[in-house]
């Protein structure tokens, strides 16, 4: 009875949330718009694809969000709002029903139907497609069997009840499904175009999509030019008429291009230049956080890190306040647990010792090392591997210095190329290494991939069955607060095992011209669609 009550409450809340009218750019009445609504945005790299089945990077996802719209979308503030689906209900713990808006159409005028989603999701998972980014669609029932070629794509747990109703069954209860339905890889594709042109369909100009923009031109490593899609169901609320994305990998070059007036919106501030840039550009530097964690991965099976006391001692000795405020100085927040601030469905972990004076922390950490069998005569020694990058080098030098001066630990630093690190880490060939996690969707579940026993993302080879059991139990709950309490508990339990050394939460600092409106600092997943932005008269 109680479960039914909670379920009804949750259902009501979801329907209520979903029934809010969707808005694109929210422009205050007193804001005067510029007559020319064009914007040039930096991308941190050339995008790998514009086909939702092959989109995997942040850069491609950002452009993808402009060109294709999923069932839901993330608005300027970071909230999940209706996209092609005007409402949705969770009709059972593992079943969702989405009602599509009747006025959603492809840019060539063909109507977007539930079948387009069924087709797109089956296509992402079809082994023939060879998609790299199947993790989101794998939440759908039977998806893993389809990817592995053990089931036909038709066996996927998604079906069109009618052209405007889509029913999705998930493998396990997934309260966050509307969050991940907003991502580009979950967007529909125009079946009538794809089936005709096969893999070459993204080369058509204008590219047929259902987003707020259509692609006019794409020159690899040079630029992507998008113009407003007049057939978008919410086109009247879209302000920007033209958006140009320019892929620039080097942050220094991007900064110079911003200074030269070539960008309205950059992606990243070069490492170490934050104070200068902040002073030079003032309010144009829009500070913010993103749900992403910088941490050191420790191989829990390695003889050096088998003992929890060693892992804890190493974590306790690092002064994250000093690291973030004095060394990095780019608005990063200290972290002591894997889950970052702003994550839905779990609270960050803060151990008791954070409030202790540093001397007490060091004494405690030294005692832990002593108990684990290490001393000045027999110091702990290991190799910390990081990939070539200014930021990673700074952090590694800092950590090695802290460990050496405070604990007498000898950390040998090893600098390798990015892909070399990835392979070595995945194969368990490094002891301690630079690692990071950027969430795919805003829910604590995105983080538990790193902690679950046997997960491919768990480079620590950490395993605590109690943590897994709590996570499983939490996902069966329909009441959000109770679920969050259990996930917080599971996270705390894992962090008390010190499987890794969380260091800080990444900031999302962008240089954005003062005349660009619609930029919100609360968009922690850092998905900022162009339809939410506008140019103020200047």
């Amino acid at each position: 009875m109680k479960a039914t009550h909670w379920f009804a409450t949750a259902l009501f809340a979801l329907v209520l949330a979903a029934s809010h009218a969707a808005h694109a750019a929210l422009i205050a009445p007193d804001v005067k718009l510029a007559p020319v609504q064009t914007l040039t945005r930096q991308l941190p790299a050339e995008i790998e694809s514009l086909d939702p089945a092959h989109i995997e990077s942040w850069a491609a996802n950002t452009v993808g969000l402009d060109l294709f719209e999923g069932l839901t979308r993330i608005d300027a503030s970071g909230a999940v709002v209706p996209g092609v689906a005007q409402s949705w209900t969770r009709i059972s713990p593992d079943t969702w029903r989405f009602t599509l808006r009747p006025d959603a159409s492809w840019s060539d005028g063909v109507r977007v139907t539930a079948d387009d989603f069924v087709y797109a999701w089956r296509r992402v998972l079809d082994p023939q497609t060879g998609s790299k980014y199947t993790v989101l669609a794998e939440f759908v029932k039977n998806a893993k069997a389809v990817v592995a070629g053990k089931a036909k794509p038709a066996a996927l747990g998604v079906r069109a009840l009618d052209p405007l109703t889509l029913e999705v069954r998930t493998e396990t209860p997934a309260a966050f499904f509307p969050e991940l339905a907003a991502m580009s890889s979950m967007a529909p594709v125009p079946r009538h175009i794809v089936e005709r042109a096969r893999d070459g369909w993204t080369k058509r100009r204008p590219l047929v999509g259902n987003g707020a923009y259509v692609l006019d031109d794409w020159q690899p490593n040079n630029r992507l030019v998008l113009s407003k899609n007049e057939r978008y169901w919410n086109a009247h609320a879209v302000a920007l008429a033209k958006v140009t994305y320019v892929p620039i990998e080097d942050d220094g070059t991007a900064l110079r291009m911003y200074e030269a007036g070539q960008f309205d919106y950059t992606y990243r501030i070069p490492s170490g230049l934050y104070p200068r840039v902040s002073k030079q550009f003032g309010p144009e530097l829009r500070a913010g956080m993103q749900i992403a964690t910088y941490y050191y991965s420790l191989d829990n099976r390695d003889p050096a890190f088998k003992d929890k006391r060693v892992r804890q001692a190493l974590s306790m000795a690092l002064d994250r306040d000093l690291l973030t405020k004095r060394l990095l100085q780019a608005g990063e927040a200290p972290l002591y647990g894997l889950i970052a601030n702003g994550t839905k469905s779990a609270s960050p972990f803060v151990p008791d010792w954070v409030s202790w004076p540093m001397e007490r922390r060091i004494a405690y950490a030294r005692a832990l090392l002593r108990d684990a069998g290490y001393s000045d005569a027999k110091p702990l020694a290991f190799t910390l591997t990081y990939n070539t990058n200014d930021l990673h080098k700074k952090v590694a030098l800092f950590a090695a210095s802290e460990w050496r001066t405070k604990l007498g630990v000898q950390a040998k630093l090893e600098n390798v190329e990015f892909k070399v690190l990835l392979q070595a880490r995945h194969e368990g060939k490094v002891q301690a290494s630079r690692d990071g996690w950027f969430v795919d969707y805003n829910d604590a579940m995105s983080y538990f991939d790193v902690l679950r026993c046997g997960s491919i993302q768990n480079d620590q080879r950490y395993c605590n069955p109690k943590v897994d059991a709590l996570v499983e139990q939490a996902n069966l709950l329909l009441e959000p607060d109770r679920r969050a309490a259990l996930l917080t508990q599971a996270h705390a339990l894992a962090m008390q095992d010190y499987p890794m050394i969380p260091l800080f939460q990444y900031s999302a600092d962008r240089l954005v011209k003062s005349y660009v409106g619609g930029y919100s600092a609360t968009n922690y997943v850092d998905q900022r669609a162009s339809q939410d932005l506008y140019v103020i008269a200047h």
Partner: protein, 312 residues
């Protein structure tokens, strides 16, 4: 000369095969693969990709498949940029690299020869010292320092009334001349220093030879002696250099294109190497090898034009 050209072309084939084979093996021996990422792919997704790109086949068979496609003019599919074939990516990047390299070489050549001749003729005078200074500066100041300095001056310090830089700080846009000025200037500075130094040394040597002394003894004006009699033989080392410079304008594009964020072959090969996009890197290697063979052949043929004693 036709027989020589044909013979050289035929000899180029095993050279190219050797280069491709060595690069192919080196790329595959490099740690890390095209599908390694911070978030690891599921085993099933990885297996699908391996099957799609024939990674499940033995390496020798993959190599033969690649060579077979190459013979048909197909450079393969990019593992990273899945919407494009390597042929398409190279076709889009090549005009940018050629546009920059192709414009910089003639300018560097004219300037380098003129400065080299002037320095040789007015040896130990201010112009000579200037050329030597320029030569040393161009050699010691790396492009990744000189490039940003040029940008700082012409794109950031010097601005139009609208607040835009005089010239773009980077990017290619629609390929307008404004986007080309700074990269071409950088390449010219790099190349002109080398050409001027070689030209100066060669001209000094030629000017001290017997036939120049004879020309002077005949009472020919110095201008005629230098430009009509000394220049042609003095050009030989520069011509030799030209092949290397032409190839290096493609390879040095790696730095130039990074500094100015140009969508040319340099950017492409760097991204290809970082992403372990084997076919993309190999495609550019094939192109560069063909260019090297071609430039060297042209240089050899140019010798015959400059020196009547050379016959093929």
């Amino acid at each position: 000369m036709l027989a020589y050209t044909l013979r050289r072309t035929l000899w180029a084939l095993p050279t190219m095969l050797g280069v491709i084979t060595v690069c192919y093996l080196m790329l595959h021996a490099t740690p890390g693969g095209p599908f390694d990422s911070e978030k690891q792919l599921s085993a099933a997704a990885l297996a699908n990709l391996d099957a799609k790109y024939h990674f499940t086949e033995p390496l020798w068979r993959q190599y033969l498949l690649y060579l077979g496609a190459l013979l048909r003019g197909d450079l393969g599919a990019s593992y990273r940029y899945v919407d494009w074939s390597v042929n398409e990516l190279v076709a889009k990047a090549l005009p940018v690299s050629l546009g920059i390299g192709g414009a910089s070489i003639p300018i560097a050549l004219v300037l380098g020869i003129a400065l080299g001749v002037a320095a040789a003729v007015r040896r130990d005078r201010p112009i000579d010292r200037f050329v030597m200074l320029l030569g040393n500066t161009g050699n010691v100041v790396p492009p990744f320092v000189l490039g940003p300095v040029l940008v700082w001056v012409f794109a950031i310090v010097l601005k139009t009334q609208e607040g835009q830089g005089w010239l773009p700080a980077g990017g290619w846009g629609d390929g307008a001349w404004t986007h080309r000025v700074l990269p071409i200037t950088l390449l010219v500075v790099i190349n002109v220093s080398t050409i001027a130094r070689v030209m100066r040394a060669s001209m000094i040597e030629v000017l001290s030879s017997n036939f120049i002394r004879t020309a002077r003894a005949k009472g020919l004006p110095p201008r005629i002696v230098v430009w009509r009699h000394a220049l042609r033989p003095a050009l030989m080392p520069v011509v030799s250099l030209l092949g290397a410079i032409s190839i290096s304008s493609i390879t040095s594009a790696v730095v130039t294109e990074s500094v100015f964020a140009l969508p040319g072959l340099g950017q492409l090969v760097v991204n290809g190497a970082i992403n372990r996009d084997y076919t993309l890197v190999l495609g550019i290697v094939v192109l560069t090898t063909v260019a090297a063979v071609l430039f060297n052949l042209l240089v050899d043929l140019a010798y015959a034009l400059l020196d009547p004693r050379i016959r093929y």
